[in-house]
């Protein structure tokens, strides 16, 4: 048996299973999206693109779409910014390996927490009456602040939790990447009279461009799957202030109306939009690295 055949044969079962699972659910979603099925009744009929056309007139859908885009932007930019700033700060100030390792270990803990646990911890921290954050705000004369009940603060407050979990994790990755860089270009920059921030802005971070783009993509994909965090912390509220597309699809399809065809149409649309967006970002990223 040739090596190539062996590889093909051993890969087929796993890839077959994964492909079946992915394709069956996508096919199922497309099938549902052109019907008018609900959970209340057993009968249904073909309605064509009716669900999709209704979506385009649904204000709540556009609100959810807007929330999703804002969520994506805040969490991706916030995570990467926090990670870059913290990694550079630790790289420049903490020189002892022992302290660095302790910090890295501490920074890994948040991402190891189950999402639901993290969500509950922060719900308590944010609580207007019991929360430690409001206690601290009270000390400086602010508040109590309704972090999760104030529509203009709620989405950002939840995003902070996501950035806390992933930003610290990415800090560890970036710090390790900075440590692997050759020392000489940094020293050459020092001799070229570059200040510390200039060394990182013009030398080290550009040298890490490839890994930074990969991290951004990973975080962008991860941010799409934030259902659990938002669901536990606000449930999409107050009102629809934190309702993202996946939350709205869940509310429509399972929780409230049981209108699974409508929810399926939303999922299919979400799938198309995100696939297109990521292909464009991927291509742009590749071009930029070269």
């Amino acid at each position: 048996m040739t090596r190539k055949r062996f590889v093909t044969l051993t890969l087929i079962p796993a890839i077959g299973l994964l492909a079946t699972l992915a394709l069956v659910s996508i096919a199922g979603a497309i099938w549902f999206s052109v019907m008018n099925r609900t959970l209340r009744s057993a009968d249904y009929e073909f309605v064509g693109l009716h669900n999709f056309l209704r979506l385009l007139r649904d204000r709540r859908f556009f609100n959810a779409l807007e929330n999703s885009i804002i969520w994506e932007a805040i969490t991706v930019i916030g995570t990467l910014t926090l990670a870059v700033l913290l990694a550079v700060l630790i790289f420049e100030t903490v020189k002892k390996p022992l302290w660095r390792n302790l910090i890295c270990f501490a920074f890994l803990v948040p991402v190891l927490l189950p999402r639901v646990a993290a969500a509950f911890i922060w719900r308590f921290l944010y609580s207007p009456s019991l929360g430690v954050i409001n206690y601290l705000c009270g000390l400086v004369g602010i508040g109590p602040v309704e972090f999760l009940a104030n529509p203009s603060l709620a989405l950002i407050s939840v995003a902070v939790v996501d950035i806390w979990q992933w930003g610290l994790f990415f800090t560890v990755i970036l710090l390790k990447l900075l440590e692997t860089l050759p020392r000489e270009p940094i020293e050459a920059a020092k001799l070229d009279s570059a200040r510390t921030w200039e060394i990182h802005a013009y030398v080290t971070l550009p040298m890490l461009k490839g890994p930074l783009i990969s991290l951004t993509l990973v975080k962008a994909v991860e941010s799409l799957r934030s259902f659990d965090l938002i669901f536990v912390m606000t449930g999409g509220g107050p009102g629809t202030a934190t309702e993202t597309l996946d939350l709205y699809a869940y509310q429509m399809g399972i929780n409230m109306g049981g209108r699974i065809s409508y929810a399926s149409a939303m999922s299919v649309l979400l799938l198309i939009v995100t696939t297109m967006a990521f292909v464009i970002i991927w291509k742009a990223g590749k071009k930029w690295t070269n």
């Binding site: 050759p182 000489e184 270009p185 020293e187 050459a188 920059a189 020092k190 001799l191 070229d192 009279s193 570059a194 200040r195 200039e198 013009y202 030398v203 550009p206 040298m207 461009k209």
Partner: protein, 361 residues
Amino acid sequence: MANITCKNIVKSYGAHPVIEGLNLEISDREFVVFLGPSGCGKSTMLRMIAGLEEVSAGHIAIGGTDVTDLPPGERGVAMVFQSYALYPHMTVADNITFGLRRQGNSRAEIAPRLKQVADLLGLTPFLERRPKNLSGGQQQRVAMARAMIKTPKVFLFDEPLSNLDAKLREKLRTEIRKIHMQLKTTTIFVTHDQLEAMTIADRIVLMRDGQIEQMGTPDEIFERPRSRFVADFIGTPAMNFVRAEIRAGDELCASGGGLTLTLSPHSFPDLVAGQKVELGLRPARMELCGQNSHNAIHGTVVLVENMGAEGQVITNVAGAEVSFVTKDFRSLSPGDPVTFSIAPDHIHVFDPETGRSLRKD
């Protein structure tokens, strides 16, 4: 004026001292080479002058200004690294001008200077390329251009030619020397290659275990090594060492290891009969001679190494290997008896205990 003064320099990592109380004076426009085996502290010394390593104790002054506590960028030095240390994501032009831009010079001011150094080093066709698209020699030229464009007070070279092949190394060595003759900037060049040091230096600082073993012109180091270590380190093929004893008699002579050699009484006035010594005989200072010549050494050819114009003949003299260099090596083959000699002036004598040279002139 950019003379360099190092006073009582100490460098230690934890409790382990690498350099202990080193004193060094380098005058303006001088080309000094730090030479020594790996781990002798020569690179550490250079990096301390550059400001990339902290000095544990002592002071460094450049051009009369104490720079011991100044950051690297404010010392007026430029450095060329062994690994070139180019910024991989920038074009050649951006690499060269990075330092000037950081100092706040405008593009209009920088452009003519860039053109000047690029022309001087033959880099004009490559200015828009990235370092990864250049050969090793071209990359090293970019590193040199990056150092030169800043018109520093001092050039520091940290084994800049070690990563290049032999031919290119020779070419760049000549170029560096020519550039120094043109710009006359005070230069420190670190290398472990003694031939490179001999050919390029005004003055060699030979280091061993964090201390200066000998300082002097290439000729002084080669002809008047102050210790066995220096004599052994400099010169290819390496010096022969023979244990011997000073004989009483009309002439000052030493014998041992199957040979008896007359020494110059003028050079070694303090030697006394019965004193144990170690003789140093440079292969290049010995030549084939007749049976009864003065200071003749008799041996059997073991191996002949062809070096082109000359050959190194390795012989067996009373059980020990002694080599010499001759142009007439082609007539010799292994097993042949051979006689060669050395002039008394070229014999080095060392104390076998301390390794110090016993020469007095």
